[in-house]
């Protein structure tokens, strides 16, 4: 089981790299959908005793993160008729290298924190790396939809942190977090629609034109 958990967390880190290195929006969304799926399977791998609330959490996560949200984002792509990312502030190759550095930093920092033992040991570095990389995508990409993907990565990282204590945390809190994400993305979708209507483009750097001069 520990082997499976390690493998799943490694795949989560790799999906982060896919988002960092790809130029196409649909690949970004597919990567974050895959990440959501992996995150849904993780509680089952961590706690194989299979209590009801673990199963519920897993199914809910897969439903929201791997199915509903990506479908919603793909609808948003079709609505705004965008295809590729414009060249981001930090080039793709440099993003990949910084991503590696972020993972190294995450592992180095986690080495100094009191870690849970056993199968959950790699959770903290993976969570930290996903949070940092999600913030990185939010900061360096200028297309609003990719920034939403970055926000989703950030939330996934926070979710991973939560997984270290899934037995202790009541089901309701996790459901509440999931609802937060759901509502947040919906609001972002509406905002994206309006940005597109106003500027005829999804380049969020245009938002700075709204400043009062």
């Amino acid at each position: 089981m520990a082997r499976l958990v390690e493998l799943l967390l490694l795949l989560v880190i790799l999906t982060n790299f896919i988002v960092l290195g790809t130029t196409r929006l649909s690949t970004c969304i597919r990567a974050v959908a895959l990440q959501g799926f992996l995150l849904g399977v993780l509680p089952l791998a961590l706690y194989p005793r299979g209590e009801l609330h673990t199963w519920g959490l897993a199914l809910g996560t897969v439903a929201v993160k791997a199915v509903i949200l990506p479908r919603f984002l793909r609808w948003a792509i079709r609505e705004a008729a965008v295809r590729r990312e414009v060249e981001p502030r930090v080039g793709y190759a440099l993003s990949l290298l910084l991503g590696v550095a972020a993972v190294a930093v995450a592992f180095a920092i986690s080495g100094r924190l009191p870690l849970p033992e056993g199968a959950r040991a790699m959770l903290v570095p993976a969570a930290l790396a996903t949070v940092i990389l999600g913030l990185f995508v939010l900061i360096t990409r200028s297309k609003a939809l990719v920034q939403v993907v970055g926000y989703l990565m950030l939330e996934n990282g926070v979710y991973l942190f939560g997984l270290t204590h899934v037995e202790e945390v009541p089901f309701l809190v996790e459901a509440g977090v999931l609802l937060d994400v759901f509502v947040g993305v919906f609001i972002m979708g509406i905002v994206v629609f309006h940005i597109n209507r106003e500027f005829d483009s999804l380049d969020s750097t245009r938002l700075s034109e709204l400043v009062d001069r």
């Binding site: 082997r3 490694l10 990949l96 590696v100 592992f107």
Partner: protein
Amino acid sequence: MSWSALLGLAIVLGLAPLLPGVAAKTRARLTGRRGAPLLQLYRDLARLWRKGVVYSRTTTFAFRVAPVVLVVTAVLAACLVPLDGRRALVGFSGDFVAFAALLALGRFALVLAAWDTGSSFEGMGASREVTVAAFAEPALFLTFVALVLASGSLSLGGALGAPLAAAWPSAAPALALVTASLFLVLLAEGSRVPVDDPATHLELTMIHEVMVLDHSGLDLALILYGGALKLSLFGALLVGAVAPRAEIPPAIAVGVLVAGLLVVAMAVGVVESVMARLRLSRVPQFLTAASALAALAVILLLVR
């Protein structure tokens, strides 16, 4: 100096021209064509051996000696790889630095030969070749570092042999990343899609092929053979990283190597039929991804 190592070397030297044939056949089959025969490269080499040579008046000694240097360095590099899963013909501490340096010497000779012709096409191919190499070398060395860390041995014979076999169970995820990274480096160094397309005939889109436009006859035969040998050496590295064969008898290990090389060639063919060649400005990104995978493997091994 064991007989199995010699056997492995002889077999790889003899079988090297088969690999591009297998890759081309796989690619052809997957795209609905019959494709050239598997042994086509052997026939090409025999035909070129019989032909005469045409030299450009601009060229000097550098042009004529480059193919010889290419093949000699590739053969010497082959002596450093443990082809029977246990020991290489020649092994010493830090020999993978020599491996990479020998292949780099071959590349250097070929690039100088390209300059020697005074043609803009060869110059373009040479320029792109060194650009690809500049991004592929760090990725290759990072995979070496990962293999060294996993196996604890500083020589290729140990990094791909018994110590690696002992380390596979505990270091599997990292070694899987190393395998992926090595495959990407193989595609780059072997001038395969998505870095370079060996089947295109437009000089403006080629990298390796356009660099050797002016060679003919025996020189071209040596260059083609050298390229095939380089591909099989990287394939041997890949097979060694994936399937450590230290526990099985040497003869069977060599057989496993041959099977592994054919699988690698088929995988190359599959990739060639599925992907298109990348724009030249995207190739650094592709190879940085290979470096990132290998770096991730090193991080995983450092925190183990």
